[in-house]
Symmetry: C2
DNA sequence: GTCAGTGCAAACTTTTTGCAACTAC
DNA sequence: GTAGTTGCAAAAAGTTTGCACTGAC
C-alpha cells in the first residue's frame, strides 16, 4: 500500500469513528492525523508539536494534541508507549507488528520482528479477558553500550564491578 | 523458600551490591528493601511511602525512596513498570516470571503465567543486543468491563458505537 | 574527620483542567 | 443558535535537583 493510500484510508477510518461517536470533524484533528502518519517510528507530544509547526505551519495547542491522540488511540489508529517518564506514540494502522528492544543504558529503542513470537503471544489464551493489543519490551544493552562498558572495565581493572 | 529466607537472601545480595559499588549501608536502604519485599504485587512510590510509615514507623523522604529504588533496580532486586503515568515497581528476586494483562478501561493490572510464552521470549535471538529482562503487557478488557459495556450497549441500542 | 547519603523545599517536566472564545453542525 | 472544541494559563501529578545537615566509614 502506498503512503498516500494509507493517509487516505486512515482519514476515512477516523471520519467514521468521529461520526459514530458524535464528535466533530475539525481541521485540527485531521491535520494531527496527517502529521502523525507522516512520521516513521516513535514520537512524543513535543516533537509532534514542533513538527506540525514546521511542516504544516499548523499551530495547535498541546491540550488539543492530547485530546486528539486519545481519540486516535480509541479509533485504534495510534498506539501509546511508556518506555520512560514521557509517553511515546506511534501510528498503528497498516504497520507490521513489531516488538521493542530498549537499551537500559542509553535509552535507545529499536524495533524488531519475530513471526513465531508474535503468534505465540496472539495465541495465548487469557481467561476472562479479551485481548486487543500488546507490547513486548525487551531490556538489555545495545552493542554500542556493551563495547563502551568493556572498555571501561579494562581501564578500571582494579575496581571491582558487579 | 520461606519468606524470611527470601528477606535474608535479598538483604545479603543488596549488601554485596553496595559493597561492590562503594555505597554505604544505611538503615534507610535496608528498611526500604525490607518493606518492598513484604509487598505482594505492584506498588508505587506513594504507597511505599505510606506503608513504611504505617508498618515500620520509619519515615524516609521521597527523594531517598527514588534513590534507593534505583540502586535496587541496578542490583536486580526490583523491576520498574510504566503502565500509566506514574511508575510502578515490584520485587523481582525469587518471583516466578509472569506477564501482565492490563484493562484499558478500568486500568486493573493482573498477572498471569505461560511457560511456553516465556520460553519463546527468552529464546528469541536478538542480534547485537544482550537481553537482561523483558516486560509483556497485554491490553484488553477485563471481564467486569466487558459485562459493563454489554449492558451499556443494550441500553443505548440506537446509539451506534464503533 | 570526611564525604556519601538524607530530608526538605524548590524546580522541572509532563499531563490535566477550567474557562472564555470560537466554529462545525 | 448551540454545544462540542480549541487555546491559554493555571493546576496537578510525578520526579529530579540543590543545599545544608547528618552519620557510616
Amino acid at each position: 500500500m502506498k503512503t498516500t493510500d494509507v493517509q487516505d484510508t486512515v482519514k476515512q477510518i477516523f471520519t467514521e469513528y468521529l461520526n459514530a461517536n458524535g464528535h466533530r470533524k475539525t481541521p485540527e484533528r485531521f491535520a494531527i492525523l496527517d502529521t502523525i502518519y507522516s512520521i516513521d517510528g516513535h514520537f512524543d507530544i513535543d516533537s509532534l508539536y514542533s513538527l506540525m509547526m514546521e511542516t504544516k505551519k499548523f499551530r495547535v495547542s498541546r491540550a488539543t494534541l492530547y485530546n486528539t491522540i486519545d481519540l486516535l488511540i480509541n479509533a485504534r489508529l495510534v498506539i501509546k508507549h511508556q518506555f520512560t517518564n514521557s509517553s511515546q506514540y506511534e501510528k498503528s494502522y497498516n504497520r507490521e507488528t513489531h516488538h521493542h528492544q530498549i537499551c537500559t543504558q542509553c535509552g535507545k529503542v529499536t524495533e524488531f520482528q519475530d513471526q513465531d513470537l508474535q503468534e505465540a503471544i496472539e495465541q495465548c489464551k487469557l481467561s476472562r479477558f479479551s485481548q486487543s493489543h500488546y507490547s513486548l519490551y525487551i531490556y538489555g544493552l545495545c552493542s554500542k553500550c556493551q563495547r563502551a562498558n568493556k572498555r571501561k572495565k579494562t581501564n578500571n581493572i582494579n575496581k571491582k564491578e558487579k
